[in-house]
Symmetry: C2
Subunit: 442 residues, 2 copies
């Protein structure tokens, strides 16, 4: 066996619920968060919903000595809300903006303006290249009738694509954030199966926190208990996921969550609970990853490829539902535009009559005329904008569906390869493209 | 020395100039392109500006036997215009949409509606994992006063980020497309230095095509000669770039371009010239990449790191110019909105006077009142949209600038590491994060 070096890394994740002037006790909560973080000195801090850059700058100042390196990911109108603070130097960052993220006219939901994205920071932890991802997916406002489900599924799809394609060569991969998905939700299954990322809560040796690892609980002062029904005890939608590599094994030694209150303070840090995970990174020479271990992994990956085919197929169905909705919405916008145009033409025709019959007795109803014309123009403008927006939504959904179809085809070919290889145990090469997917046995 | 296997790969790239009803002889040109491609049977065909999905479907049908695998990258309102046709199975695809891409109100330039992006297709060529990128950057409409320069620089920045982060582990990397940049332009220097991609035209053993590798030339029937001034002989803005890896060397044996006409046809395939490159991929065992070769690369990369620092610093300056412009535009939008609002309030105040003084003799000028009110509302709505748009532009520019600053810091630290290592030739580890940048010596 090879020599092993062990490094301990503490990772913290919190959705800060940080809309200025709207979220309760925000300035006080940022002071609490800043104090706690500078005291606790986690190695990596992943914050979501830091909507105001001023708040990020306040935290950066507060954490200057405990976390000298930080990055704030900017996107959308308001920002992505994503911030990372760390003890390690950040060598590089990269931001991927999700192609779908709600609707601008659903301003009360606000997700569109947030420019949801996944941020990547490249760190060096004790000689290991760590790729640390932070994200926040579209919120779920109504679980029974979730009109944003196709958007969230596409976000999960793009998230796994981004992680699969950018984490190659990384020794350690960590993803933290508010996924707005329950553990067994389609998007989560897709993400976990495709990337091979493991769930800290399921893997931790020791846990201290809310029942079932819940991160939104009724005991939290800021939570409206009615909104949690039928999940009376809470839901788990915030995660810290991880995976190692042939160069380093990652173990989750301890995980904790806050429990609806911040010790010594009148209210909690946020409406979400904070997660803290203690990882142990064990570096070993890469040679012992070959041989038996590799074979074992290759066999098991036939099952995971089959599982991935099922999940991607399920995701395709959901995207098709979204396509159908978007097509209907675009059709409605088109029809409304046509009606607006017809009304405008009719009005112009009516207006033309008195002008043609000069000297008619009856006065021309100018007020109604201009009001109605303004209304027609407003309808035309609005429907034109909606048409452009829905076309973009359709393109993104179609794009995701195309990619999913292609990947399913490639995975099925890989499965056929497995079936040929396994019974014969011949010396054939592994099927094409195995290296290119996340179920990579290395 | 290791054994070497040699594979030959022919890559084709063409900007198809494919706006339906606007671009001349489009249906005929697609027939010409389809016939030529199915006859020439290139291994990989990278097409840009295939704006209509119908045209893509026509080509897919025409090339079904010669190029059974294809993908059309969808984004934006119209689409990205990017299509790939290949003999090899496409195992996976991924699309990165540039965060900046012109302005929606510059409809006559149309770039914004195109949703410019970079597409990635993962292929397996003779046992090698090839990552093939296709892109099309924002056009340059006026070189002397190029208001889109900051956008194009940010696109080049995001393109190199995307390639650096997603090409790790690839055995062969190929990028084809219309970069809309001359060879020595800032964005090109940034892209080439950061990714280590090499230019087929500069590296080819044999070349048959336009002088200096020009891809837009005055001899092309569709080119307005006046627009090329002062580049009377032509410009080179289309490229096929490539790099190998420790597992495979890539050589460019032959390159050709069309010369302003399509043999046997009355007009050219497009307003751009088509590029064809013949690569030779030489696979070798990865062991011989270690040892001396690695050391040599490490030494030379100190120079390339220094060069990259200079180029990224130059790009930061350009992004700052863009930031300044975007801030000014947003300020103008805000000021116009305030004026519109003031006018509306003034009007309401004037209107209130006759209503308050009931029974006044003078008739209320309703027509002017409603017209003016509609104008004010239109101003308010337009400026609100512009404000949102410029805010998003600012966020993207600031984000790129932040990332550039961070990378420059990391590179400078790396340089200090080189300076410490080189004179001493000690047994220190290579500086942190070396693996994470594209100047990776592997």
């Amino acid at each position: 066996m090879a020599n092993t070096d062990s490094v301990s890394v503490r990772v913290f994740s919190l959705n800060c619920w940080g809309i200025r002037y709207l979220c309760k006790h925000l300035p006080q909560r940022y002071v609490m968060i800043g104090d706690m973080l500078s005291k606790e000195k986690h190695d990596i801090v992943l914050l979501q919903e830091v909507w105001s850059e001023k708040d990020y700058l306040y935290l950066r100042q507060t954490l200057a000595s405990s976390h000298p390196h930080s990055h704030y990911f900017k996107s959308g109108v308001i920002g992505s809300g994503l911030a990372i603070f760390t003890k390690f130097r950040i060598h590089d960052t990269f931001l991927y903006r999700y192609s779908l993220n709600g609707y601008p006219y659903m301003a009360h939901h606000g997700d569109w303006f947030g420019g949801k994205a996944v941020g990547l920071a490249v760190l060096n932890i004790g000689g290991l290249t760590a790729k640390v991802y932070i994200t926040h997916l579209h919120a779920e406002y109504c679980r029974d009738k979730d009109s944003y489900l196709p958007h969230r599924v596409v976000q999960a799809w793009e998230l796994q694509q981004f992680i699969c394609h950018t984490s190659v060569g990384a020794d350690v991969v960590i993803l933290g954030g508010d996924l707005n998905m329950h553990p067994q939700d389609l998007g989560n299954r897709l993400l976990w199966t495709a990337t091979g990322l493991r769930d800290s809560y399921s893997e931790t040796a020791e846990f201290d926190g809310c029942e079932d690892g819940f991160t939104v609980i009724p005991d939290n002062l800021f939570i409206n208990k009615k909104e949690l029904i039928p999940f009376n005890k809470g839901i788990r939608i915030d995660y810290i996921l991880f995976k190692g590599s042939s160069k380093a094994d990652v173990y989750c030694d301890f995980m904790s969550t806050t429990k609806g209150s911040a010790p010594g303070h009148p209210y909690p840090y946020s409406d979400h609970e904070a997660l803290t995970v203690k990882f142990r990174l064990e570096t070993h020479s890469s040679t012992d990853a070959d041989g038996d271990g590799r074979l074992k992994n290759q066999e098991s990956s036939a099952d995971s490829v089959a599982a991935l085919v099922d999940i991607v197929t399920e995701a395709r169905t959901e995207v098709k539902v979204g396509l159908h909705c978007a097509e209907r919405m675009r059709y409605t916008a088109t029809r409304t535009a046509v009606m607006g145009l017809a009304l405008l033409l009719l009005e112009l025709a009516i207006a033309a009559v008195p002008w043609l019959a000069l000297g008619a007795e009856q006065a021309f109803p100018r007020t109604s005329f201009y009001l109605l014309a303004a209304l027609c123009l407003a309808i035309l403008l609005t429907t034109a904008l909606l048409y452009v927006f829905y076309t973009m939504e359709l393109k993104s959904l179609q794009g995701a569906e195309d990619q999913m179809r292609l990947v399913v085809g490639s995975l099925q070919e890989k499965l056929r390869g497995f079936r040929l290889v396994q019974p014969q145990k011949s010396q054939r090469n592994p099927p094409e493209g195995l290296e290119t997917r996340a179920v990579d046995p290395e």
